[in-house]
Amino acid sequence: MRNKRRIRYLLVALAVSHLVVVFAGFIAPCDAKQQDRSLPYAPPTRMHFVGASGFHFRPFVFASLADADGYREDRTREYPVHFFVKGSSYAVFGMIKSDVHLFGVDAPARFMLLGADAFGRDEFSRLLWGGQISLAAGLLATLITLTTAAVIGTVSGFHGGWVDEALMGVSELFLSLPWLYFLLGVRAFLPLHVSPTGTFFLLIGVIGLIGWARPARLVRGVVLSARNRNYVSAARGFGASDLYLLRTHILPATFSVLLTQAAMLVPLYVAAEATLSFFGLGVSEPVPSWGNMLAALQHYSVLVSYDWLLAPAAALVVTSVMYGMLADALDS
């Protein structure tokens, strides 16, 4: 019972975090590619409540001024934070067009919750937009893996004989691949300069197709044991067709395995995308992903000077921990 409640809480938390990312356009104050060359590595904007005229319920910010040792706040004018402001246009799901943003301040001040990167791009906006790419990569690649695994595992376990032998042989081949190196290799043989969308789908395809072997073996095991159950033999004796048996008795038995595997694979694949993009082999600039945002930290000087650029790492941890807890809860 406690476990069931835990699963429900985790699902709600996951749904909320995914929705935040889906509605990135609305929640993020600006576009992911919008640069501000006057504000490279600007620190997170501080929110104030107490100003020259006393306490305000509506928080306000100051504009940033660059000076010799970094940035300071220009205290001459207060910019109150407004909600539901008009800004750059975006589309949710690629369909619903809008230009209303959750919050924002009047120009020339900027409200950068998580500071800015080297090009003065708002890290918070990029974190949300990049989350779309990273999470979509993880989810789609998982879908590819599990579909392949379900089909191959079912065929292998249900058909048996030489088909089983052959498919399991191939799966052993895939298990014996050093997958990160192989990913590098595959990427090496593909053109280096592909459009961001092109790379994205290539990446998903490659990541998704490499990992099918382990879940396929699990599915095969479940199918094998389900196939030899007495009630399945009985149904077969009554003249049930293979398709009927698969649909009503065997495939439902594989669902719990597939669900647990999904909860395990999604964070793995999100991290895989991040790793490849970190190396510069995945999603390419200017499109943000958690991996290529972290790539800036390959320079040690950047890594230690600008803490807020570690935000994608925190997002990765939160995602992975939530999915990991879900996988644990589903497993028991």
């Binding site: 050093p178 990160l180 190196y181 590098l184 053109p191 040690y300």
Partner: protein, 325 residues
């Protein structure tokens, strides 16, 4: 013996399949090393086609693969186009660096992980175990890239350990012991990342398998017969619980060459990882293929060693009673 022979033949067949796969991919790929050259007006098309034929890139796929296979049988993995040197020695020097790092990390991981796993298994359900288990599940789900960046940020800031590369600039001036100390100091950071990323998996597996055996009726019977806790654990529980651990150990050996790519690149350890990454960007065909084959050999050898260990420890496999797939 028959079982082992079968495994060995299978491993060999898999290796062949991996190499075929690599060659197929190179054939399907649109670009090549010489594409960049073609844009250079100083290099004539004749030079490029000469180069292509020198590296055998103008031959059909099957022929190329045949040549390559024959060369590999003689211990020659081909020629790196970017480094203008044979691939095998290039890979070997880098692979030794990688092995130094990963073996150290593996030994430490297991030295920490196994006692911790056994210890928490005997304390299951108590608060101490809960703390370790919670910490462990958190650690297990933190991606390696985050661990690497976190530790790196800490190391750069605190200057507690040297960062980047394997030796200091003054390495040549140091005495014999000084050199060893220098390398060991550089080893600290990448090893720490690898251990942190790997130890939680070992703890979890050991804890699960030992815990399962501790619940078995024969252990309760042993306890009822008055066998001491320590003797019970070491003589009766651990040998039974060892099998899954040994399989995992095999995986550890298997990933000795390929498991540290990320750590090597982020900390600048001059191992196989950075070499292969550069080769990828340069589309240095034979180097990439060689690297993949190299790590695949290790993977298969690791699995094979795991089989050997399993056979030594589990009589059911020795007698052929169970197929240990």
């Amino acid at each position: 013996m028959k079982y082992l022979a079968r495994r060995a033949i299978r491993a060999f067949a898999l290796l062949i399949a991996v190499s075929v796969l690599c060659f197929l991919f190179t054939e399907m790929a649109p670009g090549s090393f010489f594409d960049e050259m073609r844009l250079n007006p100083q290099i004539s098309p004749e030079t490029i086609s000469n180069l292509r034929s020198r590296y055998g890139l103008d031959q059909p796929l099957v022929e190329r693969y045949g040549h390559w296979l024959l060369a590999v049988a003689h211990g020659d993995l081909g020629y790196s186009i970017a480094y203008n040197a044979p691939v095998a020695p290039l890979l070997w020097t880098r692979a030794l660096n990688t092995l130094l790092l990963t073996t150290t990390a593996m030994v430490l991981t297991w030295l920490i992980g196994v006692p911790l796993g056994v210890w928490t298994a005997t304390w299951r359900g108590k608060w101490l175990d809960r703390i370790v288990e919670t910490g462990n599940s958190l650690l297990i789900s933190i991606p390696e890239i985050v661990i690497a960046l976190g530790l790196l940020a800490w190391a750069v800031r605190s200057r507690a350990v040297p960062i980047g590369g394997m030796i200091s600039l003054s390495h040549d001036d140091l005495s014999g012991w000084g050199k060893l100390r220098d390398v060991l100091q550089h080893l600290l950071l990448p090893t720490a990342i690898l251990v942190l990323a790997g130890v939680s998996i070992v703890v979890r597996h050991v804890r699960a398998s030992v815990g399962e055996v501790l619940d078995a009726p024969f252990v309760r019977a042993g306890r009822g017969l008055g066998i001491g806790q320590v003797r019970l654990l070491f003589r009766h529980v651990l040998p039974v619980a060892a099998s899954p651990g040994i399989t995992l150990f095999g995986f550890s050996i298997a990933s000795l060459l390929s498991g540290s790519l990320l750590v090597e690149v982020t900390t600048g350890w001059p191992g196989l990882g950075p070499l292969l990454l550069e080769a990828t960007f340069a589309r240095d065909l034979y180097l990439v293929i060689g690297g993949i084959i190299f790590s695949a050999v290790f993977l298969l050898a690791g699995n094979f060693i795991a089989d050997l260990l399993l056979m030594a420890s589990d009589p059911r496999i020795r007698t052929g009673g169970v197929n240990a797939e």
